[in-house]
């Protein structure tokens, strides 16, 4: 049994202890990593401080810290029909499906992958080729200063691994689907995804977190992506968690020379959610294009925190995040762009645009630039406003009921993000899926 400094009463500690005793077959380096991460978590604790806690200034995770969560619940039953109803779907998409935090082999399918491409569960990859993982797993997402990453790392047991050899091109996106069943109750899951994209490889990855459950469960996800030189990776994250749930998800990307990374983060679920996206543009010519769309209503709280580190010259980043806020909901956009010394010719654009549909909704939008070198092109901006009243009148003057006109304008606001999605089938799916909550909150569907 590992020795730790956390108080023996910590439910996470006891869950860790019982998991640790079951994972004796894990490689020694991984057991060390997990033990260190658990110690780190015990030391850091949940970042609940309301003073001097800059990374969590706008988001209180006290509800997560106080939640009583089960780590050992058995997975509920899910069917393909169930998944197809909840998530975007193409039969041709290779997929790994996790139900209530546990891998479900029956619902997964890895048939149609090109030769040499490996899509496995983390457990399988650790059992068969741990050496391929060791240099990367836990090294891209820093667990030393982030309690949630530390916690996820401590609980590393299963997840998804995608290894793409140099030059390989995936025609179909890989779908990693996390679903929580209606009867799962207040569970905690710590899914991990690792993507290693070889030189000049091309792939798209969709990570979906979806549930119709009304329980206050907790998803604490970490995704690590390594893009080798000239790799082109498109990533989409759909955060459609259950209405009472908590979601903290970190996506950490390391980009080598001339690699291109596209990210689309679509969020409409969870009671309290934080999406962290951290990009390291480590070598010249690396570029990233990050877009996001969030829809919040009721008393939802959603926090998108991004950081882009221009650590090399001739690196490019684009951020466009949009928020649509209704009810008493609160959204946060924190985007930090760091241009390091020597990263000349860096080119960064950061934009946050927000639509407030009700007086009770609130947005904190904080784009920021930290530029430590000359000869760069950087700009940022944030806007927040209500629906354009003259456009609303124009639509109504043609007979559209107020709610239908509002819905059209809201969808129009979202369409810039949706229409730019690199994974085309997601566009139509999202158009339909997002139209539903909009229509529901405004009573009438446009004809």
């Amino acid at each position: 049994m590992p020795t730790v400094t956390a108080p023996p009463t910590s439910p996470y500690q006891s869950a860790y202890d019982s998991l640790a005793s079951q994972s004796a077959q894990q490689p020694a380096w991984l057991r060390d990593l997990r033990r260190n991460a658990m110690q780190r978590f015990a030391h850091l604790g949940f970042p609940t401080a309301r003073r001097g806690n800059e990374p969590w200034k706008y988001t209180s995770v006290a509800p997560i810290a106080q939640a009583a969560l089960a780590h050992d619940a058995a997975a509920g039953a899910a069917t393909l029909a169930h998944l197809k109803r909840l998530a975007p779907w193409r039969d041709a998409w290779p997929r790994l499906v996790f139900v209530d935090g546990r891998y479900n082999a029956r619902l997964s399918s890895c048939d149609s992958l090109p030769r040499g491409v490996r899509l496995h569960t983390l457990a399988h990859a650790l059992a068969t080729d741990p050496a391929a993982l060791e240099p990367h797993l836990g090294h891209i997402a820093s667990w030393t200063d982030d309690a949630f990453v530390a916690l996820n790392t401590a609980f590393l047991a299963d997840g998804a691994v995608l290894i793409i050899p140099p030059g390989a091109v995936l025609e179909e996106p890989v779908h990693i689907l996390h679903v929580v069943t209606d009867g799962a109750g207040a569970i905690a899951a710590h899914p991990r995804t690792l993507v290693l994209a070889g030189d000049r490889s091309r792939a798209a990855i969709i990570e979906t977190f979806v549930s119709a459950s009304g329980a206050a469960y907790f998803t604490n996800a970490v995704t690590e992506i390594v893009a080798a030189p000239s790799a082109q990776i498109a990533h989409a994250k759909l955060m459609l968690e259950g209405a009472a749930s908590y979601h903290v998800g970190g996506t950490c990307v390391r980009q080598a020379q001339d690699s291109a990374f596209t990210s689309a983060s679509i969020s409409s679920g969870a009671a309290l959610a934080r999406n962290n996206l951290a990009i390291l543009l480590a070598s010249p010519g690396a570029s990233c294009n990050l877009s996001g769309l969030s829809l919040t209503a009721g008393s939802q709280h959603l926090d998108n925190t991004l950081s882009v580190d221009h650590a090399a010259p001739h690196t490019t980043s684009r951020q466009i995040y949009k928020g649509i806020l209704d009810g008493q909901s609160r959204a946060v956009f924190v985007g930090r762009v760091l241009v390091r010394q020597g990263a000349t010719k860096a080119d960064a654009v950061q934009r946050s645009k927000n639509l407030l549909l009700s007086r009770g909704a609130e947005i904190d939008a904080k784009p920021s630039l930290e530029i430590l070198t000359d000869d760069v092109r950087c700009s940022h901006g944030a806007t927040a406003g209500e629906l354009d009243q003259s456009a609303l009148f124009y639509l109504m003057s043609r007979g559209l009921p107020r709610d239908a006109a509002r819905s059209l304008l809201v969808q129009a606001f979202a369409s810039e993000i949706i229409q730019s999605l690199a994974i085309a089938p997601l566009r139509t799916w999202l158009d339909r899926r997002l139209a539903l909550p909009l229509a529901a909150s405004h009573a009438e569907v446009p004809a």
């Binding site: 354009d388 009243q389 003259s390 456009a391 009148f393 124009y394 639509l395 109504m396 003057s397 043609r398 007979g399 559209l400 009921p401 107020r402 239908a404 006109a405 059209l408 304008l409 969808q411 129009a412 606001f413 369409s415 810039e416 446009p446 004809a447």
Partner: protein, 261 residues
């Protein structure tokens, strides 16, 4: 006795941002008629049209508007539209991200549902849209673009008339639809409007130019000065204004109301 009017504006007063613009307007329009409203810049022509259409920025401070026997001012702007009222805007609004065709179909179907008609399926709608676009000689590429976004001034005006052609209003208010149109466009747009004239509808045209009235011949011409309709006449009044401008009318109005500051 004449049949009950389609539109009856009586003593209408309206203000915007606390400033009174309409100071008692009376106007009666029957079906089958075309009325032209002329008047100097800033006299309140667009205000009158906007108030009739229900623009929320204007406050009605007095008077009444009856439309087909009902209290128009009590209706929401969208209900007015579904009841057959149409305003072709002087400055049509750009609506980025909303496809023109989607907007037109939603608008058409909203009106149809209101009249107890079934919604038009996409195929039928597309056929109808094609027909109406041919009528106003509009390029089909405009259907896939966002509503008015990046349209030239003239293209926006044409898009307004396309909407009118689709919605077939009972009362159309055309606010300077002719401004910004080139000579050929003026002819097609006028022909489009004329094709929509029927015994059971009516048109009110706001214009600065007699030229439009050569194409769409009005039964009545009214002159709006400083928030009041100060003269009405037949189409010869438009010719007179073209010759002489508004100065004489203005002076006549002022000398008739010496008490006004």
């Amino acid at each position: 006795m004449s049949p009950s009017p389609l539109l009856q504006v009586a003593g209408l007063r309206a203000s915007i941002a606390g400033k009174e613009i309409l100071k008692g307007v009376d106007l009666t329009v029957h079906t089958g008629e075309v009325h032209a409203i002329m008047g100097p810049n800033g006299s309140g022509k667009s205000t009158l049209a906007n108030v009739i259409a229900g623009h929320p920025a204007y406050a009605v401070t007095g008077g009444s508007v009856r439309y087909r026997g009902k209290d128009l001012l009590a209706m929401t702007p969208d209900l007015r539209a579904r009841e057959g009222l149409f305003l072709a805007f002087q400055y049509p609004v750009e609506v980025p991200g909303v496809r023109n065709s989607q907007f037109l179909r939603s608008a058409l179907n909203a009106g149809r549902l209101h009249r107890g008609l079934p919604e038009l399926e996409l195929k039928e709608f597309n056929k109808l849209l094609k027909e109406k676009m041919a009528l106003v000689e509009m390029n089909p590429s405009f259907t896939t673009r966002s509503v008015n976004e990046g349209f030239s001034g003239g293209e926006k005006k044409r898009n307004e008339i396309l909407q009118m052609a689709l919605l077939e209003p009972t009362l159309a208010l055309l606010d300077e639809t002719d401004s910004g149109l080139d000579i050929d466009a003026l002819r097609t747009v006028s022909a489009g409007v004329n094709a929509l004239r029927r015994a059971d509808n009516a048109i009110v045209i706001v214009t600065h130019y007699q030229r439009l009235l050569d194409y769409i011949v009005p039964d009545f011409v009214h002159v709006l000065v400083d928030g009041r309709l100060v003269r009405s006449g037949g189409r010869e009044l438009a010719l007179e204004l073209e010759r002489e401008g508004y100065e004489r009318i203005r002076q006549a109005v002022e000398s008739a109301q010496p008490a006004k500051s």
